[in-house]
């Protein structure tokens, strides 16, 4: 059942507008040089951070379709009757969500890195940092989607909730793109691991609490 659920998430993600978060990511990365100006050194210094902000906003886009439709349509209830734990539903949704936006975002990160003036070793570092960070972004998105599901104006509320929770990830993730020597990458990995491990439980509790 879990495998079927992950496949379903991927199918639904790709069926809808899978390109939208990636297009958004590229768009934000494109706007940064316009906003900051053409100074290549300055751009390269803030480029990693800009990529992370772009990735964060991209992760926010699909948040309303992650949990709410399944809750309104009774899919979550039927899953419970089939003996699937809510935590497992959360984990499957995280995996499915990452599969629909993570790999594509990593591909888009290559042109985006050039746009913000990262190349060579910095490009590799930003890709590694995003590869480690995007599963955590997916986990945060699913957890926040579960927490806000069914509430009025859930989309904006989800943004308010997700941004502060993503701060540690953004700090270490952006630092890891800029500096290969520091232990920022390890700290980012630790934060990501904690987020990915905790999010299914948050999602599961939120799904249960939202039942009426």
């Amino acid at each position: 059942m879990i495998g079927a659920l992950v496949r379903r998430e991927v199918r639904r993600g790709l069926h809808g507008s899978a390109w939208l978060p990636v297009a958004f990511f590229l768009l934000v990365a494109t706007v940064v040089p316009f906003a900051v100006g053409p100074d290549a050194r300055l751009l390269a210094r803030i480029g990693g951070g800009a990529l992370w902000i772009a990735a964060l906003t991209a992760a926010l886009l699909p948040i309303e379709r992650l949990i709410e439709p399944d809750q309104a349509n009774g899919v979550l209830d039927q899953l419970a009757l089939n003996g699937v734990a809510e935590e497992a539903v959360g984990a499957a949704k995280i995996a499915g969500h990452w599969l629909t936006f993570g790999p594509m975002l990593l591909i888009a990160a290559v042109p985006a890195s050039f746009l913000v003036g990262l190349d060579g070793a910095a490009l590799t570092r930003s890709l590694v940092s995003l590869a480690i960070g995007t599963p955590a972004l997916a986990a945060l998105a699913v957890a926040v989607a579960a927490l806000t599901s069914g509430l009025p104006r859930a989309g904006s509320l989800a943004g308010l909730l997700l941004m502060p929770l993503a701060v540690p990830l953004v700090i270490f993730g952006a630092a890891a793109t800029g500096d290969g020597e520091s232990s920022a990458l390890r700290l980012e990995a630790a934060v990501a691991l904690l987020t990915v491990a905790g999010a299914p439980f948050v999602s599961g509790a939120a799904i249960r609490a939202a039942r009426t």
């Binding site: 379903r8 639904r12 349509n73 009774g74 899919v75 209830d77 039927q78 009757l81 089939n82 039942r211």
Partner: protein, 184 residues
């Protein structure tokens, strides 16, 4: 006779209102229980309680594997009916689709189904699950005469196979049912 559902001393409070308390409930193989009562008396809530989707405020409940048909379709709108139903574990899916007259709709996307066809699909999912305990919330809503007959036949077959049915309905159900009236 094996017991498929056993609840004792059940109480449920919803929105600050006590729906029922001290409710005992038992269903054995081949039995069927019809929940009646006025709107808002807690029929649907009791079904969700038995399904495990709500927690009782008092009492305890034990049940065998159950399948639920309620107001929610829980099928992916963009998929053809047969594929959407196949997502749910159902060893008897083909049989169930035939039993509810859905064979000719198997390639029709779920979003194009009518109300009654959606109702039949929900009931077919319950039958396909091969769960011994069926929980049906207002199963006759939206069903035409033919659909109601097919449901009665499916329930009779399920009961003779040793299954049990708990149904909430304000309409009379075919065959012999025990009745539990809520909200008196």
């Amino acid at each position: 006779m094996s017991v498929l559902l056993h609840g004792e001393g059940l109480a449920l409070v919803r929105g600050g209102r006590l729906l029922f308390e001290g409710l005992d409930l038992s269903l054995g193989a081949g039995e069927a229980l019809h929940l009646t009562g006025p709107n808002g008396s807690g029929k649907s809530s009791l079904i969700r309680l038995v399904a495990g989707l709500l927690r009782p405020d008092a009492g305890r409940i034990e049940r065998a594997d159950a399948a639920l048909a309620d107001d929610n379709l829980a099928l992916d709108r963009e998929l053809p009916l047969a594929r959407a139903l196949a997502f749910w574990k159902g060893s008897r899916l083909a049989e169930a689709m035939t039993a509810f007259g859905l064979d000719h709709l198997d390639q029709v996307p779920v979003r194009l189904l009518s109300t009654g066809q959606g109702r039949r699909a929900r009931l077919a999912r319950v039958m396909a699950s091969a769960a011994p305990l069926w929980l049906l919330d207002e199963p006759l809503n939206g069903l035409d005469r033919d659909g109601a007959d097919r449901l009665a036949a499916a329930i009779a077959a399920h009961r003779s196979d040793g299954g049990a049915v708990l149904a909430a309905s304000h309409l009379p159900l075919a065959d012999d049912w025990r009745t539990l009236e809520l909200g008196r």
